[in-house]
Symmetry: C2
Subunit: 408 residues, 2 copies
């Protein structure tokens, strides 16, 4: 009975166990302690999230240059990467700030020294609003988006209590029917409510149109985005005419970056996925690149190991639902192994198959997969291995994945 | 220009920012610092993972009593919860040990003092095998499952280098075609390979049959599970006849716990989901409870807040793909709000609708959702709020969600 507790303790193993536990508690949370000089693509523990630095840096540069040429600002969205190190590189490339979707994201970005943080999602929990106000109190530069009178009430109360001024954008719902106030008169009325609160300062408008970002085919996408963004531009003009500061119109996405940046009145882009790209965006079709949208490179992959090879027609890898978001209809695509199909194999595994006669990977082989959808895949990991060729050059914490509140 | 860096620094805000950053680094990683006495269902930050302790404790007790009556052991699967605190309660209820799907899970369980840890998934990375062997070296009680000659080679090498003995189960593939060796003669041959390695000790057989666990209708499920488990029982007998120690046959699941525990030769159950339950298991149908499998309670929910209410026909909650696994066909189900439908609203949001004329939740309302699939949903969170009525009684780290390796 090797599992017997008495034998275990009698052998004095309890002490060893405690030492071991301590070792783990120390080693646990500090991703910075990982020595990247020892890491390569052949020994990082799988499943692992990899970033190809050459491709990533090219993506950062392409977008920055595009915006510069177009004369627009950009405030890249951190909901894609949740990673302060990536945000810093986007800032270095000229970003006005960083957009975030959650309070933990805002906190992580401010803690990393990022300025111009825009929370694009609505929040109505008093404790979360207090956390955003606390960021401002401590010198952080953040803006919030509001789309409902209740948000204004709560925000005004918290700002008043903390005696700080809070910049807000009016979130305008231009068709997603998910967040924001309706464009036109309803938005103006919301702005009037904001203006009654002495601690709140209107800075402009934001709009996200998921219904435009993922339209397949450049011309069709161009048409949809121009149509819906017109509502946002018009609302911004109405706010200006009504005497409000409407210097900002933040909108756009990776799918519409070269469309929205040509719409008069759009001042900045909230582009997110361009740093990583994914299969969902690739099928979008590009302006000049035909069916496959290839303006940006696939810099993000999930590395997996073949852990079973019992059958002649398939092998299993150690990356399933818990390691690769598969909520889109696209299947993860093996890099450098054409003809391979990734099939869902439950929470822990993926099943790889090939056409009859084609070569399957062998046990122990490590494969990289381009991800179907980058944002929810990144959300599954705590760190990203930044690689240059086969070498791991840095290990970056996905710091904003975690809810960091230590109390209420 | 409130985002201007010069103004920001001129105002002396940089100092505040640094102080703030330090505050966050300290507050960040220590979930234990959250004071649960201040938390209730009305103020935990959403989206949040909640565990109803009354229902959870009833589930733990029901399974333990069932196994006791059936005269079988149980080694509950931590891939469902990844939470040492939950594992401890399962051990207290009489579990033989805890099954795990990953090396970080094994490490977290051993660090928490759990004995009888069984790694049910195959591993072939040398560094991961070394980590499992290190657990044994430090007094941890773990077993590994092997289903391929390559695993035996690597494990024997690591065990030899560390001078420790390693217990292994032969993982038998009884139909999932995902992990394990084929039953019968191939399994016996694999056992012979194991037996040649002086540091490896065969302890028996394990089989998981996902193809049985989720068969809808008790009688149909009973038939499938008996059919496939027979292969595993037969393999165990072959191993015994060949002179190997085959004291363990670990199998079963929440779907088949009351089927497999009646199969002669099955010594223990690897039940996982029963502690939480989910919609995927509910539709299974129970032995006595008809269409809805209700042997165990839905103890796990995701708490979300209504953050937008612009439209008359819908509201948005702050729980999307990043907060609720939606890879199954079942939609999250609102507890205590009949007639409400949760629709996917992207990575950050869910969209709630009702039949025309029915009442919708209002902005700021907090709703609990029963999850479609518990394992990958738990995997999205770092902590679980254990509740009793409206009160949060404890905050438990989902410690094994994270890859903890500090170097290689």
């Amino acid at each position: 009975m090797p599992m017997n507790r008495r034998r275990f303790l009698a052998a004095g193993m309890g002490v060893g166990l405690l030492t071991h536990r301590e070792h783990h508690v120390n080693a646990d949370e500090n991703v910075d302690r990982i020595d990247p000089t020892k890491l390569t693509k052949s020994n990082v523990p799988t499943p692992a999230l990899l970033l190809d630095l050459d491709l990533f840096e090219a993506n950062v540069k392409t977008m920055a240059e595009h915006c510069q040429r177009a004369g627009r600002g950009f405030r890249p969205h951190a909901k894609t990467h949740k990673c302060p190190e990536i945000a810093k590189q986007q800032m270095k490339a000229g970003a006005l700030g960083i957009s975030v979707a959650t309070v933990p994201e805002a906190e992580a970005m401010v803690a990393a020294g990022i300025t111009g943080v825009l929370l694009t999602s609505p929040i109505v929990e008093p404790a979360k609003i207090a956390r955003m106000v606390a960021l401002i109190q401590h010198g952080g530069q953040v803006m919030l988006s509001v789309g409902h009178p209740r948000q204004i009430e709560l925000l005004a109360e918290a700002a008043g209590a903390a005696e700080v001024n809070v910049d807000v954008l009016v979130d305008v719902d231009i068709g997603d029917r998910r967040t924001g106030i309706l464009p036109g008169q309803p938005a103006v009325e919301l702005a009037q409510l904001i203006a009654k609160q002495k601690r709140l300062r209107i800075r402009g408008v934001q709009s996200y149109a998921g219904l435009a970002s993922h339209v397949v085919g450049f011309e069709a996408r161009d048409k949809v985005s121009r149509e819906v963004m017109a509502k946002s531009v018009e609302t911004r003009e109405l706010l200006s005419k009504a005497g409000f500061d409407a210097s900002i119109l933040s909108g756009g996405s990776t799918g519409t970056y070269n469309i929205d940046s040509k719409i008069r009145g759009v001042t900045e882009l909230q582009v997110g996925s361009y740093v990583f790209m994914d299969l969902d965006y690739r099928r979008n079709g590009g302006k000049t690149s035909g069916e496959n949208y290839s303006d940006f490179h696939h810099s993000l992959t999930v590395l997996a190991t073949v852990v079973n090879a019992t059958h002649a027609d398939r092998v299993s890898v150690d990356a399933g639902t818990k390691a690769l978001d598969t909520t889109t209809t696209y299947k993860p695509e093996a890099k450098s192994w054409p003809g391979l199909t990734y099939n869902r194999g439950g929470d822990e595994f993926g099943i790889l198959t090939v056409e009859p006669g084609e070569k399957l990977p062998r046990i122990g082989d490590r494969l990289e997969f381009i991800v179907p959808h980058c944002d929810p895949t990144t959300n599954l990991y705590d760190r990203i291995y930044a690689t240059r060729g086969e070498k791991v050059e840095a290990v970056w914490p996905i710091a904003a994945r975690r809810e960091r509140v230590a109390g209420l």
